[in-house]
Symmetry: C2
Subunit: 324 residues, 2 copies
């Protein structure tokens, strides 16, 4: 089978293709080739099958048609202008996240005798406060960001196009990915990862919110597991509601810190410096804290077992097992 990863140069796209290179298959089917598409050229891991990297602009209507012309059996649509940028640049967010997604779906529709599985990464940003204690599978989507709005619209299109038999879509709402590897980024949510990753690497990290802030996390490894499950789950098991809130771990920042202490010790925890940031505190206040994603769990999507496990995944996958 052939696989297309749109957003293949991103963190999740890279983790996914590395996993596919190791597995050599997706579900029970052998992989013939993988194409990594992104705005910048993706790194290509070693593998037994062909992996190509291509670049382009998804908001150019002809791009999607060219991608679909190769008739991949599975399309992972991971590409998006992220939350902060979609808020800062209104037009760009709509152009890439909404128009780009629609061009892709329209291109799939337009191809005759073609009905690929498309896995769409949505986000918990489709939800907006006020929330119940834990957000269930029947809670409404009232996003409070343009990014969340664009993802919620993508979900609706995916459902309708799937219902009409034009594609076989599954949308998955990823938790905040933690521990995000790489350098500290300026996303408001970055501190959830920074306070784990930086101290583990011997560096100081700033914590801008109080210890009782609760949030919803999954490791990059779990995120890749979700994508693979979403790519291989039988369509009829999903039913008419094609978008699923993924499982995760709900912990407070205090819980995160105690997990770090139990995995890496007091000396590592001491590298976290508390420096409240009112702007971030206000933003985080509107974010979801906890979910009750029964459908996804029933459908075989598996989260990390604990936040300690999330830290251990990071140490194994990013630090070669070593803590500074």
């Amino acid at each position: 089978m052939n696989v297309l990863i749109i957003g293949g140069a991103g963190m999740v796209g890279q983790k996914l293709v590395q996993r596919l290179a190791i597995d050599e298959r997706l579900g029970d089917r052998e992989i013939g080739a993988v194409e990594l598409f992104d705005v910048v050229e993706a790194s290509v891991p070693d593998s037994s099958f062909e992996i190509t990297a291509s670049t382009g602009d998804l908001s150019d209507q002809s791009t999607a048609a060219a991608l679909v012309a190769m008739r991949p059996d599975v399309i992972f649509h991971l590409a998006a202008v992220v939350s902060g940028e979609a808020e800062a640049d209104f037009a760009k967010g709509y152009r890439i996240n909404l128009d780009g997604t629609r061009y892709l779906l329209d291109a799939i529709c337009a191809a005759e005798d073609y009905c690929p599985r498309i896995v769409f990464t949505s986000s918990i940003a489709v939800f907006g406060a006020p929330y119940p204690e834990a957000i269930g599978d029947e809670f409404l989507t009232t996003p409070l960001t343009s990014y969340g709005t664009q993802k919620a619209i993508g979900e609706l299109l995916l459902s309708d196009f799937t219902r009409r038999g034009m594609m076989d879509g599954v949308g998955i709402r990823l938790p905040t990915i933690c521990v995000r590897p790489g350098r500290p980024n300026k996303a408001a949510s970055g501190f959830f990862s920074n306070i784990i990753r930086e101290p583990l690497a011997g560096k100081e990290a700033v914590l801008p919110v109080s210890d009782d802030v609760r949030h919803w996390h999954a490791s990059p490894r779990s995120a890749v597991g979700f994508l693979i499950r979403a790519a291989t789950i039988p369509s009829e098991e999903v039913g008419t509601r094609r978008n699923l809130t993924m499982p995760g771990i709900s912990v407070t920042v205090g819980d995160q810190i105690e997990a770090l202490r139990s995995v890496a010790g007091d000396q590592v925890v001491a590298r976290i410096r508390r420096e409240p940031d009112e702007a971030i505190i206000r933003m985080v206040d509107g974010w979801p804290r906890n979910f009750d994603p029964q459908r996804a769990i029933r459908l075989g999507f598996e989260a990390d077992a604990s936040f300690e496990d999330i830290i251990r995944v990071h140490v194994e996958d990013e630090l070669g097992g070593n803590i500074s």
Copy 2:
């Protein structure tokens, strides 16, 4: 103040402009002019202020810019390709209901120093089975038609554009309008009105479903009341969730028939002929039956008091008080 009614030739648009012509004001502001825009030329009622009718195609991007150039204070966006047609003609539904709505919102954004109230008529078609006993204000939108999908997307855009201060939008999910005046139409939901309107006019009506089918209704008069409340409600009272399920009356077909009997007698009820239609039975099975629209009720939206009242509204407004 100036008012634009997009979809001004439709049943609800006509009822609305007739009411505005009588009231001469919208809330506490005197009306200066009303423009009725539609694909066909709207009838213009007598009034003390200027009413103009214009025609055009909302899916032509330049149309919205021209409509917005006149800077109406309130825009009622009632225009849509209806449910059956949006399902039969996939491209047309998306072109008018999604692209047309987006062009309108984009045109409002593009106008400087302009932030009109826009009232968007959404629909209970944004919901999809399975449902709880009564659908509450926090129930998810998983439409099972392309029309419902397009309306749900319109709701999301309206919320986001309003949140960003580009307009002041309120979306209202209308119940099925009953008794719909005019001739029997072929909409699958038409029978809810047909079985009341036709017998009252001395004609036979076909009932294609069983008496225990429950549905959610509002009179045309109530629908106009909803529109006027949505046009005049203070924005801060609505809050961040800009889309509201309107109140209505939940009755079974059997209840409708008994209400008809109590208003018009056995002889009128005898004109209903039962003729089950499997296709309609299957479709209706997926429709919402009952709601618990607490937010809208708290915000002052008022439904009819009973189905008998819905029938009396029809007899007064359409039949001059006379039953055949």
